[in-house]
Amino acid sequence: MPTARPRAGLTFAALASLTLVAGCERPVGCTGEYCGTMVIASGGEPDILLPPVSEFSITRDVTDQLFLKLADLGASGNTIGDEDFQPQLAQRWEWDTPTTLVFHLDPRARWQDGQAVTAADVAFTYDAYTDTLVKSSFRSSLRQVAAVTTRDSLTVVFRFRQRYPEMFYDAVYHLRILPAHLLREVPRDQWRSAAFGRAPVGDGPYRFVVWKAGESIELAADSTFFLGRPHLRRVIWRFTPDQQGAVTQLITGDADAVEVLVTPDNVQRARADTALATYPYKGSAYGYVGFNLAAPGDSTKPHPLFGDRDLRRALVMATDRERVLRNVFGDLAKVPPGPLSQVWWIWDPEIRELPYDSGQAARLLTRTGWTDSDGDGIRDKDGRPLAFRLLLPTTSAVRRQYARLLQEQFRIAGVEVQLDEVDFSLYNERARAGRFDALLNVWNTDPTPSSGFPQTWTPAGFGRSNYGRYDNPEVDRLVDQAVASAANRDQARRAWRAAVETLNRDAPGIFLFATSNVAAVHKRIADVTIRPDSWLALLRTWRIPADRLTDRDRVER
C-alpha cells in the first residue's frame, strides 16, 4: 500500500513527540538547602491517617511526619528507663514519684492551623487511645497507665499502676498526640471513617497536602516547625501493588527511596545502579514454623503429633535452618537464636538452642517409635505415617519458598508434609481458631519484646497470638520477671535469656529467620540515618545539598 509508510512514520513521530514532551521538565525555581523532593515507592497504602485506628506500618511512616510523640526512641533503641529517649513535643520531664511522670510541653509547639498544642491535647489523646469505642489496637500497650491529667496548659501528668522498667516507653512510644479541638466533636465510634483521617492537621515537621487514593500522598515541609525546618520540602509516597513493584519504580528512576529491597536479587540490582545507595539495618520481623500443641479445633486435647515434646525436638534438629535461609534470603536475614527479631535488645547469638543434627534427630525419632516399617520412605508408628499439614498464606512469596524447602528437608528425615496454602484472611482465621497442625508464621515486632513475646509465647496470648497454645509456667515466670520486676537492663537480659533457652528446649517451633533489611535511597539525598524500628523516624534530618539538586527538586508548581 503506497500510503502505509508515511502513516507509520506519522504515528512514530507522534509517539516520539509525546514521549519527548512528557519527558521534559517544567520551569524550575527553588534554590538552596531546602528544595529537595523525595519520592518514596511504597508497596502499600495507608487506610486512614489517624494513628490510633490504623495498624499499617505505611500509615505509621506517614503519620510520624504529621504528629509528634511526647518523646521518641533514641538511636540506641533502648526501651528501658528514660535516659535514651529524645524530647519531641515534651521539652523535658521528671518523675514526681516512682509511678508519676510529669511532662512539660514545648511552648513553641503549634498545630498547623495555628492553635497551640496543650496538655489538654495530650489528655484527650490518651482518652481516645484507651476508649473502647475507638477500638485502637494500641489500647493494650497503655494498660499500665492509670490516668493522664493536666496540671496547667503545658504540664501533663501520667500516673502508672505499678513501677516497671519500660514505663516511659509505654507512655510515649505509641501515643501520637492529636488535636483535641479538631477531633472532639467526632463521635468516637466513627473515628475509623472520620474525614480528619483523610486530610489531617498535625503538629509535626510536615503538613498534609493531598491524598490521591490508589496513587500517592504528598506532604510538604512546615518551614516554621519548632524543632527545626525539615530539609526536604516535599515528600511523596507513590503506591504500588506490592514491594516488588516499588523496587521496580526505584530502579527505573520513578522513585528515590524504598524501605526494604526484600530479595538478594533486588539488592544486587540496586547496588549495580550507580545513582543509588543502600542502607542495611536490622529487621523487626522473625519467621518460624509453629507447632500446634493442641488438637486442631479442640484446645482441650493435645495434638496427636506435636503434643510430644521429643517429636518436636527431633523436627527442629532435622532442619538445616542456615542452609534454607541462605537459599531464600542470601545474607538478608539471620537464623534467630529463638523467637526473636534483630531489633530486640535481647538478641544474643549465644542463647542456647537445639543444634542441626540430622543423626540425632533420626535417633530420637526411632527411639520414640517412629520408624519406616514399610520401606516407603515415611516413618510410621502403630500404622500411622509421620505426616502433617503446614499452613501458610499464599500472599507471602518468602514463606512459599521456605515451605517447599522445608518439605524436602522433612522428606529426607522420613516426615511427610503437605502444604495448606490459603489466602491471608483464611490463614488468619484458621491460625486463630487453632485449625492447623503447623503453620509458617511471621511476626513484625515492636522495638521491645515486653508486649509481643508474652502475647505470642505465654498463655496471655491464648486466643490471640499464641496460635500453637504453647504453655510452660517456667517460661511465664521468667518472662514476668524480665518484663515487670527486673531492676536493670542486665538483670532483665539474664531473665529473657533464661526464658528463651527454656522455650528452645521445649521446641514449640522451628525459628527460621530474623530479617535484615536493606533500604535503597538515591545518592543525591545526604545524611540518611535509619532507625531500625521506624525507617523514616529521622526523615527531618535527611537533605539534598544545593549542588546535588535536580530539576525535579527545584520545580515549582
Binding site: R198, R234, R238, S425
Partner: protein
C-alpha cells in the same frame, strides 16, 4: 425498537441483580474475616468489634436484605478496609479504569481492523502469514505476562515510559494543564498497549476472516467491474459488511477489558477498579467487592447493549426484523 430496548434493559437489570446477588453470597460464604493484613493482623477483639459494626455477625439473609435495602437508596455501604464510603472509593477508581479500557478498546479495534484488512488484501502472501503468526503469538500470551514484558523492556531497560502510576506526582499532582494531560497519556501508553495488543490480535483474525468472506461476494466483483479503485472497493463496499462480526466482538471485548484491567492495573500500579477489587477480596472487604461487581457487570451489560444497537445500525436486515420483534 422501543419495545426491544425496554426488554433488553429489563433483562440487563436482571443480569446485574443476579451478579450482585451471587457475588454477595460468594464473598460472604468464603472463609476468612476482615481482620487486617499480613503486615499486621488486627487483634481479635477489634476484629470482632468491626465485624459487629459492619453486621457480618448477623445471619446472611438478614445482611442481604439490609444490603438490598441500602442499595435501593443508592447506598453502597462503607468500606471496611478503606474506612470510607464504597461509592467514594469507586468514584475515584472508575474514571481510571474506564479511561484505560477505552484507550485499550481504541488500540484493539484500530489496530485489529487495520491488520485484518491488510491480511485479507494480501491473503496467502508473506505479509498475511507474518502478521497472522505474530497475532497468534500475541493472542496466546497471558495479558499480565505481556504487561510484565513491556514493563521490563520499555520502562526498565529502555526507560521510554514510566514504570507505573497514573501521572508524575511531582510535576502533575492534578490534570490541570496540557502538559499534565500529555504526562497522563504517557503513563497510559504501556497499560493500554498491553490490553489493546492482546485484543487487537484477536480482532485482526476475525476481521481477516470476515473480509475474505465479503471480498468474494458478487457485489464486490461488480464494484471492481465498474472500474472503482481497489481502495474504494475495499474500504467502502467490502468493509461495511465485514464489520458485522466485529460489532459482536465489540460486545465481547468489554468483559475481557475489565477482567484484563484487574491484572494490568496490578502490574502497572494503575489505581482503578481492578486493583481496588483485588485488594478488597484479599482483605474480605465485602462492601467494596460487591460494589465493584455491581459496577463492572453494569458496564459489561451496557457494552453489550451498545453492541446490539450498533448491530442494528450496521445491518438494515436486523433493523427490519427489529421492528417486528427485536434482533
Amino acid at each position: 425498537m422501543a419495545a426491544w430496548l425496554v426488554r433488553r434493559l429489563v433483562a440487563s437489570m436482571a443480569i446485574v441483580f443476579a451478579v450482585v446477588t451471587i457475588t454477595f453470597f460468594v464473598v460472604h460464604l468464603a472463609h476468612g474475616k476482615p481482620c487486617g493484613s499480613d503486615d499486621r493482623p488486627l487483634p481479635p477483639e477489634i476484629c470482632q468489634a468491626l465485624c459487629r459494626r459492619f453486621g457480618c455477625d448477623k445471619p446472611l439473609l438478614e445482611q442481604y436484605g439490609k444490603y438490598l435495602a441500602a442499595l435501593a437508596r443508592g447506598d453502597l455501604g462503607e468500606s471496611i478496609g478503606l474506612h470510607r464510603p464504597v461509592a467514594d472509593a469507586l468514584a475515584d477508581a472508575i474514571p481510571n479504569t474506564f479511561t484505560l479500557a477505552l484507550a485499550a478498546l481504541l488500540i484493539d479495534f484500530a489496530l485489529g481492523l487495520a491488520l485484518g484488512i491488510y491480511q485479507a488484501v494480501r491473503a496467502g502472501r508473506f505479509g498475511d502469514v507474518a502478521v497472522g503468526n505474530v497475532a497468534l503469538l500475541v493472542n496466546s500470551m497471558p495479558v499480565f505476562w505481556l504487561g510484565l514484558v513491556l514493563l521490563l523492556v520499555f520502562a526498565q531497560w529502555l526507560r521510554w515510559f514510566p514504570a507505573g502510576g497514573i501521572t508524575n506526582p511531582i510535576l502533575c499532582p492534578r490534570l490541570d494543564s496540557p502538559y499534565c494531560l500529555l504526562d497522563f497519556l504517557w503513563h497510559l501508553t504501556l497499560p493500554a498497549l498491553t490490553l489493546g495488543l492482546v485484543g487487537a490480535a484477536s480482532t485482526a483474525r476475525y476481521q481477516r476472516a470476515a473480509m475474505l468472506e465479503v471480498v468474494r461476494q458478487d457485489y464486490v466483483r461488480t464494484a471492481r467491474a465498474k472500474g472503482l479503485r481497489e481502495q474504494r472497493v475495499l474500504l467502502v463496499h467490502a468493509l461495511r459488511n465485514a464489520l458485522l462480526p466485529i460489532i459482536t466482538l465489540f460486545g465481547l471485548a468489554f468483559p475481557f477489558l475489565f477482567t484484563g484491567a484487574v491484572l494490568i492495573e496490578t502490574v502497572f500500579a494503575w489505581p482503578g477498579m481492578g486493583r481496588l477489587a483485588v485488594n478488597a477480596i484479599f482483605q474480605r472487604d465485602y462492601p467494596v467487592v460487591t460494589g465493584a461487581a455491581l459496577l463492572t457487570s453494569a458496564m459489561v451489560v451496557l457494552g453489550n447493549l451498545i453492541a446490539d444497537a450498533l448491530y442494528a445500525v450496521a445491518d438494515p436486515r436486523i433493523r427490519v426484523r427489529g421492528g417486528e420483534g427485536g434482533p
